[in-house]
């Protein structure tokens, strides 16, 4: 055996060690980004979630003005943290349309009464169909839809207060 070959097992060990160490130190990103960015919003027509807000359909997103499509639920804890941030965006003149996932009217009403209602329209989806249509894998998620009904940005998880300028920028870019 050539003398350099005795180092081969050590080198292999070093390589494996580096692979495992990097995997432990920086575990891979487990969020699943939607592949629908840049594509048109799929067709949907959802019933009303609460009596005081109109229902939501795809046609509501083709009016020429960029909007936010927020997927939320009354049973979703991060959605409570997100509520004041959405209210701030609404005050800044952003139109936010919501979809309540797997929710009851009474529960949505209670959630909105407690946390504020930043939504212009709220649709109701009892079987998460809109999430599969959008490539969304949880609540809350927020999509920027431009005035022609094209999805331009996906925000996974709640929007934090310090992310408001970024969202406003994304809406501006969608114009």
């Amino acid at each position: 055996m050539k003398h350099w070959a005795i180092w081969l097992p050590l080198a292999l060990f070093g390589l494996l060690f580096a692979v495992f160490a990097s995997g432990l130190i920086a575990p891979g990103d487990r969020t699943i980004a939607s592949q629908m960015i840049g594509k048109p919003l799929p067709d949907f027509d959802l019933p009303q979630a609460v009596p005081d807000r109109p229902a939501l359909a795809k046609a509501d997103f083709t009016g020429g003005k960029p909007k936010l499509l927020n997927v939320f639920a009354s049973w979703c804890v991060p959605c409570i943290a997100e509520a004041p941030v959405l209210a701030e965006l609404a005050r800044a003149g952003v139109e936010i349309d919501g979809v309540a996932i797997r929710d009851r009217t009474a529960d949505v009403q209670q959630f909105l009464a407690r946390n504020g209602n930043p939504y212009t329209r709220i649709g109701r989806d009892d079987v998460s169909k809109i999430q599969f249509d959008l490539g969304s894998s949880g609540v809350p998620e927020t999509f920027v839809i431009n005035g022609k009904g094209i999805i331009t940005y996906q925000h996974i998880g709640e929007i934090r207060a310090d992310q408001v300028p970024m969202i406003l920028q994304k809406l501006k870019e969608a114009q």
């Binding site: 487990r30 699943i32 797997r102 009851r104 009892d126 959008l134």
Partner: protein
């Protein structure tokens, strides 16, 4: 008594933290299709689709509400006569290759498929060399 009360209160207050919806499962989340052939096709597909919220399970194995909703989608589409591979393609279009457990040959994954062939060829060459050398030596002695 007081301890029981405290326990009850803490349990009652903790309940909202278990973020789970109160809606019953989607119609076809736990119900099989009436046609056994269609149910078989749906089941085969569901075994190879990955749950989005519990990422190491297939949607057939998972009890997450979203997996139930995905099973409902799959069964409804199969009942409508859609091809299982078309349903898989519909999901890959939205979530990427990630959502499917069935590997595809792409520009990124082809080495995985090529590696066994290359290794077999390599092994064949090495074995051939060994044998011919052994035969040559055997012939000499």
């Amino acid at each position: 008594m007081i301890r029981a009360l405290i326990l009850f209160l803490s349990l009652a207050l903790a309940a909202p933290l278990a973020a789970q919806d109160s809606l019953p499962p989607a119609p076809y989340a736990y119900r099989q299709l009436e046609d056994p052939a269609k149910e078989k096709a749906a089941q085969d597909l569901m075994m190879t689709l990955r749950c989005l919220t519990c990422q190491s399970q297939s949607i057939a194995d998972s009890d997450a509400p979203m997996a139930g909703d995905m099973r409902n989608q799959v069964r409804e589409r199969i009942a409508r006569g859609e091809d299982p591979e078309a349903i898989r393609a519909w999901l890959i279009e939205r979530y990427g290759d990630w959502v499917s457990y069935e590997p595809r040959v792409t520009t990124m994954t082809w080495p995985l498929f090529a590696a066994p062939v290359v290794l077999l060829l390599l092994a064949a060459i090495i074995v051939r060399k060994r044998f011919t050398r052994a035969r040559a030596q055997g012939g000499k002695s």
